[in-house]
């Protein structure tokens, strides 16, 4: 295996809250190879988006990074000053945040918004060169040149999301983090956007972290999947392993909760509710909802261990 492009080690994000400390990301570690597509799945509130922000050092008070390190291409991000980390954002790691297609500036043309991004990251280009770059970026994401002169309201949801991807790849990042990039889109458009993301990612050789909860989308897109529950990674394995042999009971529940198109009456929920992060149950956080929980699960927090190429944090797996 090649040198990892992104390394996350023992990352913890804590929020100080009057009712006690909330551990939103708890001892998370993983490594990404260049060009790898990595998925991060879990229910809302599991810490997926917080983890993405923590990687980019974008956690705002009262949240803070309590421990852990992030390395990008051999560079420890904690060593960078504010200017340095600003340079890493977009140029090193690009984030397509959740709902980003609605954060385009409604009164600026798309071309201008791309130009602003380039200028903001210190790229001083001549007018012709800038035009050329914008056109190339729009072509990369499959948008017609005319989009450059259009305002966000003139674009459909899928086109806006592609415009966001164009901005994300404008500085040729090594890692693209896409947080639920298609959650507001119809299925047909979702596939177009994901195909666009796959293509630009391959062209750039960039690694992708796809955040979401749709196990079908994960199965079709990522190479490796991490399943997150209550701030911890409970299973990390190649996607084929996850689909054929999910080891953690929570992973199994997530897959079972996906409505099947083959078998009717096979719709299963996950019993109970996701736990409150400030009031986690002792032992394994999933034990109150787990059909296989034993006494040990109620007392002892399971540590991740290797089972045939998968890392699983479960006593009974």
């Amino acid at each position: 295996m090649s040198e990892p492009i992104l390394c996350v080690e023992g990352l913890r994000v804590a929020f100080d809250h009057p009712l006690g400390k909330v551990q939103a990301v708890d001892d998370v570690g993983f490594a990404l190879s260049p060009g790898e597509r990595f998925g991060l799945a879990g229910e809302s509130g599991s810490g997926k988006s917080t983890l993405a922000l923590a990687i980019l050092r974008m956690i705002k008070p009262p949240g803070r990074i309590a421990a852990g390190e992030v390395w990008l291409a051999g560079q420890r991000l904690a060593d960078l000053d504010d200017e340095g980390i600003r340079a890493v954002r977009l140029a090193g790691i690009a984030l397509v945040p959740q709902g980003s297609m609605n954060s385009l500036n409604p009164v600026l043309r798309i071309g201008r918004q791309i130009a602003d991004t380039l200028a903001d990251h210190g790229l001083r280009l001549g007018r012709t060169e800038q035009e050329r770059r914008i056109k190339a970026l729009l072509a990369d994401v499959g948008l017609p040149q005319t989009v450059s002169r259009m305002y966000p309201h003139e674009l459909s949801g899928g086109m806006k999301q592609r415009a966001c991807i164009a901005i994300a790849i404008s500085l040729r990042p090594k890692v693209i983090i896409a947080d639920e990039p298609t959650s507001a889109l119809d299925v047909v458009v979702q596939r177009q956007v994901m195909a666009t993301l796959a293509r630009v990612q391959q062209d750039l050789g960039a690694a992708v972290i796809l955040i979401g909860h749709d196990m079908g989308l994960m199965a079709q897109f990522v190479d490796r999947l991490a399943v997150m529950y209550a701030g911890r990674l409970v299973e990390v394995a190649p996607i084929a392993e996850i689909i054929t042999k999910p080891r953690h009971p929570y992973t199994r529940a997530l897959i079972a909760a996906l409505p099947s198109l083959e078998r009717r009456g096979a719709l299963a929920g996950i019993p109970g509710l996701a736990p409150l992060l400030r009031d986690l149950p002792p032992g394994c956080a999933f034990h109150p909802r787990c059909p296989q929980a034993t006494d040990r699960c109620r007392i002892e927090k399971p540590m991740a261990r290797d089972i045939a190429g998968a890392q699983v944090a479960c006593h009974v797996a």
């Binding site: 229910e43 596939r191 079709q220 897959i255 409505p259 719709l267 299963a268 996950i270 409150l276």
Partner: protein, 334 residues
């Protein structure tokens, strides 16, 4: 197959809804001549599936009396909604209940949560006393899997809305995207309680959704809409497992499956341009259809009954018996 002449509980008769355009702009066609009858004596779940802009929410609003059709009419037990007298209107409000997409938006923040449960009881004078009201609320909450004490804490809003609908013992619940804002874990529970409403309480459900997979899981019959037009209708099992309209086929193939075979992205080809110039008169799907031919832009496709329980609006099937356009009729019934 001739059905008994019992008047449907609620019926859309060739309804068209067009939203006016402002300042000389062209209006938007939201629903184009759709007919649909829901019979009270045969409770079932009918799914209405389509992408955004397909007209599915417009249909829900029309059936609930929240919007008025531009043409055609909505009838409650045979009477046009507009012509209902006070008692008729009250009976309609009682018989037809709604569950909306955003479970958080329906609560008035100035009231406690139980307000949404006690108000309908009072309005329709369903409980003789406070104790009886409490008992009815308790039963309704328990039947959606909630404990009455639970609802003051961290409660699943959408299940309370289902309980509220159940409390009134309506004949029809119009559920507009009831699970699009809830997590996978809760989704199954809520859909399961919709199924129970039908199977155990005899309440029909019109399940409006963009999600073909959940429609397949809970409903009996399905209508697929595309840009205001009915494209395919019938038994949900047939329509989803073997779609016949090119649009339904596209919709089914676009759902990412949790399979080892990764054909999903490879199948993506830009289907938005096939060289066909759409016409207002022609098939609504012509410009994206891989099978488009001259006949598709010449005029609107008829609705053809290709199987006893399936109708498709596509010229490919013009050798089959024709149904009135936009009216699947008994194709939706067992």
């Amino acid at each position: 197959m001739w059905r008994d002449p019992v008047v449907p509980l609620i019926e859309a008769v060739d309804v068209t809804k067009r939203f006016a355009g402002g300042l000389g702009r062209e209006g938007t066609l939201a629903l184009a001549g759709l007919s649909l009858a829901i019979h009270a004596e045969k409770p079932s779940i009918i799914a209405v599936v389509g992408e955004s802009g397909s007209g599915k929410t417009t249909l829900a609003r029309l059936l609930l009396g929240l919007a008025e059709p531009s043409r055609g009419e909505i009838r409650y037990r045979g009477t046009n909604l507009r012509a209902l007298d006070r008692d008729g209107r009250r009976a309609f409000r009682h018989d037809v209940q709604a569950v909306f997409q955003d479970p958080y938006g329906v609560y008035n923040p100035f009231y406690r949560i139980d307000h949404v449960l006690t108000t309908p009881l009072r309005r329709f004078r369903l409980a003789g006393s406070r104790a009886e009201a409490r008992q009815l609320i308790g039963e309704a909450l328990r039947s959606v899997g909630l404990q009455p004490e639970e609802i003051l804490g961290r409660f699943p809003h959408q299940r309370v809305m289902v309980a509220r609908a159940l409390l009134l013992q309506p004949k029809l619940i119009v559920a507009d995207e009831p699970v699009s804002m809830v997590d996978a874990s809760l989704r199954a529970t809520i859909l399961g309680s919709l199924r129970e409403l039908t199977d155990e309480h005899g309440i029909s459900v019109l399940y409006i959704t963009h999600d073909l997979a959940t429609a397949y899981q809970v409903s009996d019959a399905i209508l697929v809409l595309y840009r205001a037009h009915l494209v395919e209708a019938g038994d949900v099992g047939r329509v989803v497992t073997a779609p016949r309209h090119p649009y339904t086929q596209l919709l089914v193939s676009a759902i990412p499956r949790a399979h080892l075979a990764r054909e999903w992205l490879a199948q993506e080809e830009d289907s938005r341009r096939n060289g066909v110039t759409p016409t207002a008169a022609g098939c609504c799907f012509a410009e994206r259809c891989p099978l488009a031919m001259p006949a598709c832009v010449a005029g609107p496709p008829g609705l053809y009954r290709i199987q006893p329980r399936r109708a498709v609006a596509c010229v490919q099937y013009q050798d089959h018996p024709t149904l009135p356009r936009g009216n699947p009729g008994e194709v939706l019934c067992d």
